[in-house]
Assembly symmetry: C2
Homo-oligomer: 542 residues x 2
Amino acid sequence: MTRNIYEQHLDRNDANYLPLTPLTYLRRSAQVYPDRIAQIHGDRRITWAETYERCRRFASALQKQGIGLGDTVAVMAPNVPALFEAHFAVLMVGGVLNALNTRLDAAALTFILNHGEAKVLITDRELNDVMKDAVADLGRDIFVVDIDDPEYTGDNDHLGTVEYEDFIAAGDPGYEWSYPADEWQACCLNYTSGTTGNPKGVVYSHRGAYLISTGNALAWNIPSHPVYLWTLPMFHCNGWGFPWTVAMVAGTSVCLRRVDAGNIFRAIAEHKVNHFCGAPIVLGMLINATAEQRRNFDHPVKVMTAGAPPPAAVLLKMEREGFDVTHVYGLTECYGPAVVCAPQDGWSLLADEVRAETKSRQGVPYHMLEDLMVADAGTLEPVPRDGETMGEVFMRGNLIMKGYLKNPDATDAAFAGGWFHTGDLGVWHPDGYIQLKDRSKDVIISGGENISSIEVEGVLYKHPAVITAAVVAKPDEKWGETPCAFVELKPGVEVTADEIIAFCRERLAKFKCPRYVVFGDIPKTSTGKIQKFKLRDMLPED
Amino acid sequence: MTRNIYEQHLDRNDANYLPLTPLTYLRRSAQVYPDRIAQIHGDRRITWAETYERCRRFASALQKQGIGLGDTVAVMAPNVPALFEAHFAVLMVGGVLNALNTRLDAAALTFILNHGEAKVLITDRELNDVMKDAVADLGRDIFVVDIDDPEYTGDNDHLGTVEYEDFIAAGDPGYEWSYPADEWQACCLNYTSGTTGNPKGVVYSHRGAYLISTGNALAWNIPSHPVYLWTLPMFHCNGWGFPWTVAMVAGTSVCLRRVDAGNIFRAIAEHKVNHFCGAPIVLGMLINATAEQRRNFDHPVKVMTAGAPPPAAVLLKMEREGFDVTHVYGLTECYGPAVVCAPQDGWSLLADEVRAETKSRQGVPYHMLEDLMVADAGTLEPVPRDGETMGEVFMRGNLIMKGYLKNPDATDAAFAGGWFHTGDLGVWHPDGYIQLKDRSKDVIISGGENISSIEVEGVLYKHPAVITAAVVAKPDEKWGETPCAFVELKPGVEVTADEIIAFCRERLAKFKCPRYVVFGDIPKTSTGKIQKFKLRDMLPED
C-alpha cells in the first residue's frame, strides 16, 4: 500500500516532537517566574528558581549514587519539601519515585522496598522507628538519606549517614537533565492499599503525569498561581498529580506535616490558601472544628474531595462554611482523580439537599480520560443510563496506569477486554453522570437483594449525632448477610442503637436498615479511607 | 542489555493509551453539556449535542464521498458553522482540513487546491466568483459543496450541486468515528502567505491540535464556558486552535461573517462575549470606532493579539477602553500562538507607557512549547540575555508543525540543527522574555547599521495622527538602504512628511529616522498583516 502524501517526509524530529514530561513544567516556572514562592514550609520560603536548582542538585546527587534509568527511589515522609522535590529530581535521572505510605507497618514496608527494588531510601526522621525495622529485614543494603526537618522536634535517631540538605548540597546545581527517551517511560510507583494479599505496585508514565496535570487544571478551573495546601498525602497517587499541576501553573505549595483542622484554618488565613484536596475525613475535620481551631477568612477556597463518596450532608455543611467543593473520583490505577462531578448551571437553583445529593455523584470523565462507562462486568455491555441498573465502572484512556509492576497476571486481568476494570459498582444516570453504589466486595446481599453500603451510610451521615459511619455485611443464617453499622458520634452526644435504626427506617426500605449498630472509633487509612476489612473483624456476636 | 523491571509487561494497550486528538474534546462537551450553546450565528443557536451530531453527519457524508485517511478537504468560507464543524468532521474520517484564505486570488487558490490534492471543496456562496475561476483552472474534477448561509444576502450562483445543510443531512447522525491510528497523523493543512514564490503547506498533527488547545487555556487562563467571538479567521492557523479550545472548555463560539467595530461591539453587548483574538488591526478598529459603532458593556473582555508586535500605544489605548489584552506570538508553523507575554505581578505598578512597552514584547514559551531561544543563526549558540544582542528566534517542541507538504527541502531547512527556524529576529531580555526586532528580511541596513523596522514603526504609532505605519528599506546609493515610512492617517487629519520626520528625530537616533514618508492606504492581508513586499513596489523615486 502506498503512503499518502501526509506520510512522506513529515516525520517526528528533534524540533517538532519531544516526549511529554512534567519536568518541562518545573523548568518553565523556574524560568518565567523565578522569584515566585514555590514552597512554604514553616518559616521557609523557596522560590521556583531555587526549587529548580534544588531539584537539579538532588538529581545530580542521585546520579552520583548510581541512580539511573529504571532505578527506584523510595521516599518515606510527610508532605515536606524533600518529597515535593523528589517528584522532579528522581524523574530527571530516569528513575522511578516510590512514595511510601507513612502509616504502613514495617513488614509491609519491607515487602514494598524489596518488590520495588528500591536502591535509595529517603526517610523523614519522625518515621525512623518503623523504617529501622523495615530496613533491618530487607536482607540487603540500601543507601539511606535522612530528612532532618526543622519542623520536626522529636528525637529519633538518623538511619543513614547523610542528611537530605547535605546530600543535595553536594549535587551540581547546573545538572543537565534529559528528556525521557520515550514519554511512556515509568516515572512513579505507587502501591495499592492491598486489603487482601500483598499490595500491588501501580506504575505511572511521564505522559500520564503530564496529562493529569492539565486534567486537574481543566477539571478544577485552576488559574495561574494558586496557593495549594498539602492536606492530601503526596504518597497517595503522588498527591493526585498536584506536585506537577502546581509546577505547571506556577502556584505555591504549602507543606503541612500534620493535618488537623487548626493547621488547615491557620494556613488558609495566613497564606491565603485557595485550593486543597482531601478525603471526606478532612472535610469532616473542618465542619466539626472547635472555635479555637477556626480562623476567619474572606477569600474563596476551593476543595477537591475524593477517596470515598462524600455524604451529601457533609458536602452541604462545607458549602455553608463557605468552601466550594468539587467532588472527584478515581483510584491509584488512574492517577488519582480521573472522574469529576462537573457542576452544571442549573444546580445552583436546586434545593440544598437535592444539590448536595447531586454533587455527591462521581460524575463524568476528566478532559484527559478518553472513556468511562458503567457496564456488565462479564460482557462489557454498557448498562442503560437509567440511574438504577447496577454495573461495574470501566475506564479507558491516557490517565490509566502502565500496569502493575512484576505482576503480569494482575495487569492482564485489570485490562481484560481493553478497559480498566475498577472493581467499583455503580449506576449511570440519564445525564451521563455515574454514581458509585459500592466496591464490588462491599455490596451486602441480604435475602437475595443487593444493598449498597454507601446508600445506608448516606442516611447515617444525615443523623445529627453522627461524625463517621460505615456499613458492612454481617453473616446471617436467615438472610445470608445483613447490614451492620459502625458509628462514631460527636463528643458528648448520646444516642442508642434503636434510635439510629429507627432513624434509618424512616428513610430506607426496611431490608436495607442496619440490624446492628456498633459505637466507637472506626479504623481508617492515612488518607481517611475507612478500612472495612478491619470492621469485618469487629462484627458483634448475635 | 537487559530490560529494567519497568520495561517488562507494562506496555501500551487499548485501555491505557489512546492517541491524543481534539475529537475527544467535542465528544466530551456533547456528552457532559449537551444543551449548552456551542455556536451562535445570526439567529441560530446550535447546542453541543447538535454540533456533535452535525459533525458526525458531516463525517459520514464525507465518507460516502470517498474521503478517508490522508484525503484533503478544502473549505473556503468566512467564520461560519460549516467551517467550525469541518475542524472536527474532516478529522473524524482521517482526512486533512485545508481552510483556505478567503482573500486569495484565483491563481493562488488553484495552486493550493492542486498542491494539497483536495478531493472535496466546500465553499461559501459569497466567495464563488473567485472560486469559480480557481476551480475552472484546476484541470481536474473536484466535488463541490456550497454553503448557502442565510446570513449572506448577496446573489452569487452555486458552484456545485449540493448545499452544505443538505449534504450533512444525508449523513448518518450515529456515525462512529475512529481515533487516528497514531496521534502524529495529519489533521490540518495551512498555507503560508508566501511573500516570495509559492506558498508552503504547513501540516499539523492530532497531537499538536490537542496540545495547542490546552496551551491556549493555560496561557490565557480560560475558565469553563467562555463566550468566544470569531474575529480571527479560522483559516488562519485554524483560528490559532480555538475551534478545539472552545470545544475542550465547552464554550460558546460566536460566528462573525464580517469583522468590523460595530459587529464586535454588538456581539460583546448582546452575547456577553468575553474572549476574542485578533491582529493589532482589529484592536485599531476598536479604539478608533465611532460613537455609533460603540456599545456599553460592563463585563470583563479578554483579547488575545498577535500577527505583528502590537504598538505600545495601541495596547495602552485598549487597556483604557477596558479590554484586557494578552499578547502572543507565533507563526503558521507553530499552530499560531506558541509564545505568550505572560503577565508578571509587578507590571500593574509600572507607569502606563512602560507597562505597554513591556506588554508589547513577545514573551515566553507556551506551557506546551518545550523550548524557545534567541540564537546566532549560524551556530545556534544562544545570544546573551541582555535585551540588546540580536539573534534569530528558534523554537522546539510539541507545538511545531510536522513539516511542509511535499517540500522536503524546505522542511529540512526549517528544522536544521534540531530547531525550528522562525526567520524572525529579536533580542532576549534578562527576564527571559524575547522581543522581536524584525523579520530577517525586513531589517534595514543603513550605512552598515541594522535598523529595526519595528522600532521605527513603534515611534510612528505614537504620533496622534497615525492609524497604521510600516517601514521598509529603500535602496540608497550612499547608505545602501534607508528607511521609508508608509503611513495611514486618521480621517480628516492633515500632517506633513516633515512633521512626521521631525517627530521621529525627537525619539530616535538620526540614522533610524525615515528619510521618506508616503501617505495613503497600506496593503494588508486578510488577517491584518501588512504586506511589506507590496510596499517595496510602491517606493517613491528619489
